[in-house]
Amino acid sequence: MSDIGKQIRSYIEENFIVSAAATLNDGDSLLDKGVVDSTGFIELITYLEEQFGIQVRDNEMVPENLDSIGNLTAYVQRKLSGT
């Protein structure tokens, strides 16, 4: 797993107090697994912006970018590479 993926996983495990966080696969839906709710996603966005210095646009707040550790990692990598 990339450093970005490890950081995101670590944040999710530490910040969201649910046992499911520790056994998440990269492709698991954070919503379906009950790891985060709508407030949790807002926290996650704030973390991404502060930790990686990116700006998450409103139209980028979709499951394809944010609903799994794998999607989050790929999204942050795309933002950092400017693609």
């Binding site: 709508s38 407030t39 996603f41 807002i42 707040m61 979709v62 609903d67």
Partner: protein, 334 residues
């Protein structure tokens, strides 16, 4: 028997339902709760107005007390309409302004501190509201703060989690102070407190724990919102009640419930919840409310997501070990 959705599914036999609810209310209040009457906070909205009208049918106007509980940011029409309904129904009511108590508790100050972290030039003269963005059909929801300086244009910004939670926590004082007053009057009169959520609000957790979520009896929590409107008309409530769009009446800018929480107008949310509750495929919901099948699938996911997120609100205090000795003193629900 097919449970395929069609609009008649949500159509009530209003007179039969009114009689059934009133009979249950009488039994619950007198036999289960052992109280002499009921307290109801009247916002002028359709839910509390229907509950008040049902209570009049169940108990008569002399065994209930209506409360009008405005604060600094309530719409003026709310208290006026609440009074119109109380007078039409012939029930006694009291008006208690909760603004000074909210001021003393820091409700507005805590909220405004959070707002200034988003809009540093904000002053208490500005109007504001929180709106949901993304929405039920977008798959992920987030919240925006909308503000308007006096005479100025609307401005909006996405709310970070910390500020969103502080604003909501501060405004929750409003529902909790109202409930404290309701229970003061319930205690002094030996009455029960009526809660007024409809099925959408109850199912999707659109209430404040210890605030409007706290009550002894919730007589319309099984009814979809469109069914509450049907009862309102059958009960002869004023047109201003029967035709009003639901609002939160919590923020100083006008705010519909669909803007703040549901993401869809209540007519469509009713259909979505009914279809979901009856196991109907997303394609059927899509056809019924005029959206794509993928959007309907996301609406179903949003319903489940809100149920998961708000399960805590429904959860009573949890004990480490059951105290079974009290079981014999809890009156059965049947």
């Amino acid at each position: 028997m097919s449970t395929e959705y069609h609009p008649q599914r949500l159509q009530l036999d209003c007179n039969t339902e009114i009689d059934r609810i009133c009979e249950r209310m009488r039994y619950i209040v007198r036999e289960q709760l052992r109280r002499k009457g009921v307290i109801i906070a009247m916002s002028g909205g359709v839910d509390s107005s229907v509950c008040a009208a049902l209570a009049v049918r169940a108990f008569g106007g002399t065994h209930m007390l209506g409360l009008l509980l405005p604060e600094h940011e309530s719409a003026a029409t709310s208290a006026q309409l609440g009074q119109v309904v109380a007078e039409q129904l012939g029930i006694g009511f009291l008006t208690e302004h909760i603004g000074p108590a909210l001021d003393a508790a820091g409700c507005y100050r805590h909220r405004d501190d959070a707002i200034r972290r988003v809009f540093p030039d904000y002053t208490p003269e500005w109007k504001l509201k929180i709106v949901i963005a993304g929405g039920a059909m977008a798959g992920m929801t987030f919240f925006k703060l909308v503000v308007q300086p006096p005479g100025g244009e609307l401005r909006e910004a996405r709310l970070p989690a910390k500020e969103y939670l502080q604003i909501v926590a501060a405004t929750n004082y409003k529902q909790r102070f109202r409930k404290a007053i309701e229970y003061f009057h319930a205690d002094r009169l030996h009455y029960a407190v009526i809660g007024t959520p409809n099925r959408l609000e109850y199912d999707q957790g659109f209430f404040v724990k210890g605030g409007d979520g706290l009550a002894d009896l919730k007589p319309i929590a099984h009814l979809y919102k469109t069914q509450v409107y049907q009862l309102a008309r059958a009960l002869g409530l004023p047109d201003a009640v029967c035709n009003a769009r639901p609002t939160t009446d919590t923020y100083s800018l006008s705010q519909g419930q669909d803007e703040f929480y549901f993401g869809l107008p209540y007519e469509k949310m009713d259909v979505a919840l009914w279809c979901h509750n009856h196991g109907r495929p997303a394609a059927e919901l899509a056809a019924a409310i005029g959206v794509s099948e993928s959007a309907a699938t996301r609406v179903y996911a949003d319903i489940e997501s809100k149920r998961r997120a708000t399960a805590y609100l429904h959860t009573p205090p949890v004990l480490i070990d059951a105290v079974t000795e009290l079981k014999n003193f809890q009156r059965s629900a049947s």
